[in-house]
């Protein structure tokens, strides 16, 4: 005589919940590991920046060593640029947690600090390198805007490749509601609707797609 085994429905559900929960927990562990890796890098960068600031303070009281200050600033810009790239990759793969968004804000503030420091050093040292600040939108799902920003990034990457250490490239997310970044936007008269925007040496503002050569022309 046949006996139905309907209890399998419940047993399978329990097994599925168990396996699935393990998968989710492992996922959260993976994402937390990535967050903690980025967090450590951000903290190290913060320390590095404080170190640079302190160096500047020491020099300002005595003879200011421009070469060292500029090099340190460039080195730091490179460092956080690479770290931010890693952050972007991790963020695009983040599905269960949102902690990386906080790390992104940290990097935006760090970049803001870098910019202010760079302006100060340039003034003090009369340096002729170019500051290129790239303000972009971080929280938009607009396909047109995303495509535009991707192309802006590529233009700037090519400019950086061509000009090397003549250019200090600082990309900053401009819509993360960070007061200091908002202040910068006000200072340079950049509205949210104008984003993405490239600012060269705090003077030339580019909000429409241009060729790499056009952008390079501004630097010559």
């Amino acid at each position: 005589m046949f006996h139905s085994q309907k209890h399998v429905f419940w047993q399978a559900l329990l097994i599925t919940i168990l396996i699935f929960s393990i998968g989710i927990v492992l996922g959260i562990v993976l994402e937390n590991w990535r967050t903690s890796k980025i967090s450590t890098l951000a903290e190290n960068s913060q320390l590095d920046f404080l170190d640079i600031k302190l160096q500047s303070e020491i020099y300002s009281n005595e003879e200011f060593n421009c070469e060292v200050a500029v090099n340190e600033n460039f080195k730091f810009a490179e460092q956080i640029y690479e770290e931010a790239k890693m952050l972007d990759r991790y963020e695009s793969a983040s599905r269960l947690t949102e902690d990386l968004k906080l790390q992104h804000k940290k990097y935006d503030i760090l970049r803001g600090m870098l910019l202010i420091n760079s302006i100060k050093i340039k003034k003090q040292c009369n340096s002729d390198y170019y500051d290129i600040i790239y303000f972009y939108k971080y929280n938009s799902e607009d396909l047109d805007l995303k495509a535009k920003q991707k192309v802006f990034s590529r233009i700037l990457e090519q400019v950086k490749e061509t000009k090397g250490s003549d250019v200090l490239l600082i990309p900053i997310a401009a819509d993360n509601d960070i007061s200091s970044i908002n202040l910068l936007l006000d200072k340079y008269n950049i509205k949210q609707e104008q984003l993405p925007a490239i600012l060269i040496n705090n003077k030339i503002k580019i909000t429409e797609i241009q060729t790499v050569d056009d952008v390079l022309n501004y630097l010559n």
Binding site: M1, G23, R154
Partner: protein, 410 residues
């Protein structure tokens, strides 16, 4: 939309994992009795119904195969010619002359398969009635390995695996894999009293049960699914004998395959609508079979919607990116675009794919499918990806046809 996608993917993964665990659990518990079948307590009298529409190429062989099953108590084989335009009627008449148990009914007009079966059922004399498609060949000994299940008076229908006879072309081989997986999972569903179809190539019914449901529904495009649901609703049990098989031909062209599957889908939707009230009643029809069909339809359509959403956004994004890249004279694609950091969903997806692949391999090994030894094993991942992905498209087309009122067989 992008925010909810990970949760949708996780839901799909959960359901897939559940079905895998469900099937695996049933198999592990019943593996020793998987191929067993009860020996019949009596030699039931049996009437075969063979509906035929333009089946001149295979009808003769089908009848020969029925006779060669070796079952001793075949009362009659009733061929119902459904207004064929080829030599079907002529061949049927020849067979009637050759074999005394063969009877021929000639429909005055095209009645469809269900209508033809009902005509045959009306004159069938056996305690059991077996339906055999006119292009299907029951294996030797198949009836003996199936009728033992009727020892249980609650059993109203018995089915067996359908295997693919024509399997030279790649597309036919994919269907061969599919049919094996279907047979395996149907046997597993047997253990939870949830067989939802007794397919046309070979099914045996208790005549009393068929009378109770007033025969086959002529309005439904899948009379076999509908009859099974109707039997389930009336409390009749369905069993599956994995010890035998019936071979059948499958479409060798994509279009014919698509039309066949669309018919199956329309029939399934008709069944859901007809039996919707069972959802509120006790029994596996309302508790599992109908929700399973509805969930399948819903997930298929949702998956298709997501697919189109992603495809559209990707096309628009790529168009805009190309346009702006050309304006800026920058490369459209850079090496970084190929650098992917895997998310947890990617990992879970890969694990699930591997599990699904393993399930298919296990199925084929258990059912002693020759693909494992003699054919290209890479057919399996192709079947799991490209072939199965076509399902929701068929479903969408079926719904469209149903809305338009195009309920045609072909």
């Amino acid at each position: 939309m992008p925010e909810i996608l990970p949760y949708v993917y996780l839901t799909y993964m959960f359901i897939s994992l559940y079905m895998l665990s469900f099937f695996l659990l049933i198999y592990i518990r019943n593996r020793k009795t998987f191929f067993k079948y009860p020996h019949p307590e009596k030699q039931y009298t049996i009437s075969f119904l063979v509906p035929a529409f333009n089946e001149s190429a295979t009808l003769r062989d089908t009848i020969e195969h029925i006779l060669n099953t070796g079952y001793k108590n075949i009362l009659e084989i009733i061929i119902i010619n459904d207004k064929s335009s080829d030599d079907t009627l002529k061949i049927a008449k020849e067979l009637e002359i050759k074999y005394s148990i063969v009877k021929v009914l000639d429909n005055p007009e095209n009645l469809g398969k269900a209508g033809s079966l009902n005509r045959g059922l009306a004159i069938a004399q056996g305690e059991l009635v077996s339906v055999v498609d006119a292009d299907s060949y029951p294996a030797q000994g198949s009836i003996d390995k199936m009728i033992g299940f009727f020892n249980d008076p609650k059993v109203g229908a018995v089915t067996c695996p359908v295997v693919v006879r024509n399997r030279k072309k790649f597309f036919e081989k994919l269907q061969a894999i599919e049919y094996k997986v279907i047979a395996f999972s149907r046997k597993l569903l047997d253990y939870v009293d949830s067989i939802y179809v007794t397919p046309g190539p070979l099914a045996i019914y208790r005549k009393k049960a068929l009378y109770e449901i007033n025969g086959f529904d002529t309005q439904n495009l899948t009379e076999d699914i509908e009859a099974t649901w109707n039997l389930t609703a009336k409390g009749w049990e369905r069993r599956m004998s994995l010890a035998t098989e019936v071979s059948s031909t499958v479409p060798d062209k994509l279009k014919a395959w698509f039309v066949q599957r669309r018919r199956w889908n329309i029939g399934g939707l008709q069944c859901i609508y007809k039996h919707r009230k069972a959802l509120t009643k006790k029994g596996m029809l309302g508790w599992f079979i109908i929700p399973f069909f509805i969930l399948n339809t819903f997930l298929g359509l949702l998956g298709l919607s997501i697919f189109f959403y992603l495809l559209t956004t990707r096309i628009i994004s790529n168009y805009l990116l190309t346009k702006y890249s050309i304006n800026a004279q920058t490369p459209v694609i850079v090496l970084n675009d190929f650098y992917i950091t895997p998310s947890i969903l990617n990992y879970l997806g890969i694990i699930l794919f591997v599990l699904g692949f393993a399930f298919t391999i296990i199925t084929l090994i258990i059912l002693k499918e020759k693909i494992i030894k003699k054919e290209n094993i890479l057919n399996i991942p192709f079947y799991m990806t490209v072939y199965l992905i076509l399902y929701p498209f068929i479903m969408l087309n079926a719904i469209w046809h149903l809305i338009k009122g195009k309920r045609i067989w072909r």
